[in-house]
Symmetry: C2
Subunit: 232 residues, 2 copies
DNA sequence: AATTCTATTATTGTATGCAATCTATGGCTA
DNA sequence: TAGCCATAGATTGCATACAATAATAGAATT
């Protein structure tokens, strides 16, 4: 009972969706890229109909922007959206941590440990490194067996890559791998609060590495320059 | 520069989406209802194409299930999904409360207060009562100005109505209006922790009113009957 | 009567076509 | 040369057509 094509499960529209999503996350399609239905369909060997469907899905996930009559483009979230996104991630990933703390099975621990090892191995390859770092978070979410939680964490992690692409510092290892290992240790030990704190710190430092200006008011912005000029 | 029709903003597909969503939330289309593309399109005066697009959106929001080659139907979340959903809601609405506490503007306070008054007024009308209770939560989320947070809370609140429809006790006022007022008071006073606790309790009681069996294992289930039979 | 097989019908999956809208190019005026 | 308008080309919005799959009903067999 072999499959017709390499359909990879569940309709060709989903395949288009996955292909585009992957391309966006890998930053092969950087934020702002126009996404014309025709060319995409031609390239992927499907009609505009299916491309359209995929684009609708992606827009619902916040990865593409769908401007009526003007076509789709890879989303370019603002700095403020970025900050809010990480705030929301924080809230959800805290729930992940609380759910998992002290409840990891031997098998899950092995999976996570292996993944972290993979991250360490790929430390030099910038692209893979980013992807793996994100996957660690989605992997954790997966283990909660909470469908909505999984979906939202997945979405937010995906969108985070857009933020990083737009505002991230170029040469930063986006997620400190050592922090992943520490987090895993706390989770195994069931030290919920410490794990939560670690996750908070972890996401904070990602945010800091990207969304530099946490200060919002002119006051704060100027303060930086005032100090630099000895005017404080 | 009048609009062609009563398009209500942003493409007719969105209109279809809104119509179906509304119908689902109002339980005019109860969980499990089949959603054939052409009957819907015929009824709404659009082609299958647009209905399809709307169904894809709804499926992404978890309101409809999209079974390949077998058509769409209003989602029937399981009890466990329901429990998980409220867990996720909890995490997000805590962030809402923390964000808003002590930061409500005079105008926002008035809006919320008026809404609660409306809830009190509609206490007898079962259908409107449910809708308004949900809208209170989405209204709060709205005020955070956090786009992802708003989207997720909206989704979860909408899906909650499915859970309530499936598992809710018939004659319960789904949200205790008085709790909404109390919550608002705490938010105004900036008593963040108390507000968060109140929100937690509030959502807990909704959960309890619906998802009665929190027990999960056969052990727990049997325990109930054991006690009843004096076998404890 | 129950059951399986088959033919028919209904419904979804996908491509394509036409009208509406946007975008870009080039000429025109100042 | 700079700015503006018009026209041509490209792209989206939507409907429809056809193919593929599932659902249904009826007949034939046991």
């Amino acid at each position: 009972m072999a499959k017709k094509t390499s359909d990879a499960g569940g309709g060709r529209s989903q395949a288009v969706h996955r292909a585009l999503k992957r391309a966006i996350i890998d930053q092969a399609l950087p934020p702002g890229s126009k996404l014309p239905e025709d060319s995409i369909g031609e390239r992927l060997g499907v009609s505009r109909t299916l491309v359209r469907e995929a684009l609708v899905r992606l827009s619902q996930e916040g990865l593409v922007e769908l401007r009526p009559n003007k076509g789709a483009a890879v989303a370019r979230p603002s700095l403020e959206e970025g900050r809010n996104l990480f705030l929301t991630r924080m809230a959800l990933e805290r729930l992940v941590v609380e759910t998992l703390s002290g409840n990891l099975t031997r098998e899950q621990i092995d999976t996570l440990s292996a993944h972290i090892a993979g991250e360490e191995a790929a430390r030099t390859e910038h692209a893979a490194s980013i992807r793996l770092a994100g996957e660690f978070h989605t992997l954790l979410a997966q283990m909660t067996n909470n469908a909505s939680l999984i979906r939202y964490v997945n979405e937010l992690v995906a969108r985070s890559s857009l933020i990083l692409a737009l505002y991230g510092r170029p040469h930063s290892s986006e997620c400190a791998v050592s922090e992943h290992r520490e987090l895993l240790d706390k989770l195994i030990a069931g030290k919920t609060d410490e794990a939560a704190a670690l996750m908070a710190h972890h996401l904070d430092s990602i945010t800091a590495r990207a969304l530099l200006p946490t200060e919002n008011s002119i006051q704060d912005v100027l303060a930086t320059y005032a100090v630099a000029e000895g005017l404080a």
